[in-house]
């Protein structure tokens, strides 16, 4: 089967956009896992929760604050509350007052967040049973622009919604990077896991920083839920089993704790996937190839590929602003 060059070009553009979305989906996880050493198994469930709520509420009330773009904000704000809830139920009881986090603590928080995630998963079905408006298979007809597509060259058509999602995904990933690497809050976040006793010595409450980190990670995760919804058009609770593994693999491949590293790893994964789909016209082959490449990355460089990205980018940006290292 001969693949047209335009088909590959379309695959390349869609791959960049899809990769951007995957990167944004992963940055919340790399913060809580890489920086705070909490293996957040609820990550995928939180994203799906945001997408499910966004879709269901938009089906109910078609107002701007609930369309997928408005829902980025509403779900981000809702994520602040969910972040606090996650922290006080699954993180604080285990590592709230612990100075040095060991493997034992990591396992305990892993189990706790697992339980938290399953509760969210069950919540969808419970809501569907209790109410008559909540659907476990919600979908939206929202699309951006009129006409909803752009034509590049003669034969490449791309849906405008996807372009919007790709761009906003980059903004979200960069915003989290900026908060963590360019602000004082970010410095405190990095300090708290290194030595929370020393942080307390300089007059900062470590518990408060841990809470803020969790909130930040969850809010940014939930803000990407509506983006996923806008991309896919519909969502159901089982999509967690697609989102979560992707996010975990991307975070590890990008270098644990590196936000822009995760974003770039997401780009690579998205590009590979869409290019293989465009070349072979088979989704199943694309999945195998993509995960095989990630397997190779992890086998050859288990610490991830782009762990250095955050440091370099941060120091470059600081120099430009004239801030001393």
């Amino acid at each position: 089967m001969v693949v047209a060059a335009s088909e590959l070009a379309r695959g390349f553009i869609e791959g960049l956009l899809y990769g951007s979305l995957l990167g944004a989906i992963s940055v919340g996880l790399t913060l809580i896992w890489g920086v705070m050493k909490v293996v957040n198994l609820a990550h995928g469930h939180l994203i799906v929760l945001a997408a499910m709520f966004a879709a269901n509420f938009y089906m109910l009330y078609k107002v701007a604050l609930l369309n997928p773009m408005g829902a980025i904000i509403t779900m981000g704000v809702f994520g602040v509350a969910m972040g606090a809830l996650l922290y006080y139920t699954s993180v604080h009881p285990i590592i709230g007052h612990v100075d040095v986090i060991t493997l034992k603590h990591e396992m305990a928080t892993l189990m706790a967040t697992f339980g938290f995630g399953l509760t969210l998963f069950g919540l969808h079905y419970a809501l569907a049973a209790w109410t008559n408006w909540y659907s476990t298979e919600p979908g939206i007809s929202w699309s951006f622009g009129h006409p909803p597509y752009v034509t590049i060259g003669s034969s490449i058509t791309i849906v405008k919604t996807k372009i919007l999602v790709g761009v906003i995904s980059f903004v979200i990933a960069f915003a989290l990077f900026a908060i963590v690497r360019l602000t004082d809050l970010g410095l405190m976040i990095q300090a708290v896991t290194q030595d929370s006793r020393a942080l307390a010595l300089v007059g900062i409450n470590p518990v408060r920083i841990k809470l803020l980190t969790t909130i930040l990670a969850v809010a940014f995760a939930m803000a990407t839920g509506p983006l996923y919804l806008a991309w896919a058009g519909s969502v159901n609770p089982l999509k967690e089993s697609i989102i979560a593994p992707l996010a975990f693999v991307i975070v590890v491949a990008g270098g644990l704790g590196s936000i822009m590293g995760s974003y770039v790893a997401g780009l690579i994964l998205g590009l590979t996937y869409e290019l293989v789909v465009a070349a072979t016209q088979e989704v199943s082959i694309a999945l195998v190839v993509t995960f095989f490449i990630l397997l190779l990355i992890l086998a050859l460089k288990p610490t991830g590929l782009f762990g250095y990205l955050d440091d370099r980018l941060a120091s470059a940006l600081r120099r430009r602003r004239g801030v001393a290292e």
């Binding site: 701007a64 408005g70 980025i72 904000i73």
Partner: protein, 494 residues
Amino acid sequence: MRKGLNIVLVLTLASLVALAPAYTLVSMAATYPTTVSGNVIKIGMPISLSGKFATEGHQALCGVIATIMWINDHGGVNVNGKTYKLQLIYYDDASSANNEPSIVQKLITQDHVNFLLAPYSSGLTSAAAPIAEQYHVIMLSHGGASNAIFQKGYHYLVQILSPASEYFTGALEIIKQYIPDAKIAFIYANDKFASSVVQYAEQKAKQMGLDVVYSKAYEVGTSDFSTFISAAKAAGANVLLGGGHFADGKALVKQAHDLGWHLKFIAILVAPAEPAFYQQLDDIANGVAYPSQWEPGVKYSPQLAKQMGLEWFGPTVQEWISYFNKAQSEVSICKGIGTPSYHAAEAGAAVLFLVKAIESAGTLDNAKVRQAMNNIDIMTFFGRLKIDPKTGLQIGHKMVVAQWQNGKRVVVWPPEVAQAKPLIAPPNWWPSTATTSTASMSSTSASATTSSTTSTSSVTSSTTTKKTSKAVLWGSIIVIIIVIIVGVWLAVRK
């Protein structure tokens, strides 16, 4: 640390409780009517009242209850001069094939039912059929469309609904008649049902001399179809047939529309039959057709039966719908189901076919009733019913093609039971060339319907764009405000 573990324990327990509905075991038997005086014919039925087929299962169950209600109200079943009343005994199979053997066994050996109705879906029916065959009890398949089940040589399994091979026949007939330059693209799920439907449809299209330019199966669970759509577009396709389940069928339609694919005809399996399809897609849904076993608007009637030289049996369509509503108000399990879907109608028709066979056999003996079924050729509210004596496959019933027009589902094919003409080249799918396409469409006889939709759909599409741009404006204003607040907060904190 201990406190932490306690909380883990509590959370895990809470999640198990939340997930409990997914693991419910086989439930207790229920009967309708609860008590019967005099002679009784017991019909057993495993049916999905929880799990993934719960919606279809409830519809099927209440279709059966409504039909039994009608039969019992109209003098019951006359077996060789003796009058019998019908009683249904059913169990919830939780949509799991693993539960079928034990339920069917229980129905036959403990509840001593005379006849069986199959569970919903091809998968569950093929799990239940071997047990019924073992005990030589007739099982009527009302939700198992797959042809494969009937190629296994079961003698006591009889099909009521049209098999998978018939699903796209009506759509192909419409294409043949209305679209002379049709180029067909099949994009469909690679599961058992959809792929066998398309496999038969491709053969049929070839026989009818139709041009198939693209055919591609996608993985179940695929949500992004842009690759397939742009390849089909590149191949010059102007007719889309396919789909598989609700979520993917809906996504396929939406993405085909968003990518500006100008289609003359779209027929999608399963998804458009759900009211949620229109709720979620709005104007995009208009013009999308789907094959259906039955629709509330079909015009099967005793007069039509007479024209075709067939015997009419059972309630009329209106009468049956009113009994379905009666079941909703009188039987608690049927409360609030809404309008009957084809899942209800095909299950109800199974009861009628059984009753007709019992009456013509004049006995409750399964072997003789099964023999009598071979000679039955009747018309019911569900349509014609006649089986292939050798395999038990349904050959009499004809599927209809329904289409979303102006937010309503209308039957458009076959012509003798249609409510409206099929809408070819729906104007909402041809936005930029709307005027020229209506002109070219007037050559087809669908012009009356299309011209009336042109005006309404253009109004709705312009309002949705206005709404969208307003939404984007507000969204971005709020983003900017939040960014400013966060920025100020960060600056002040220093």
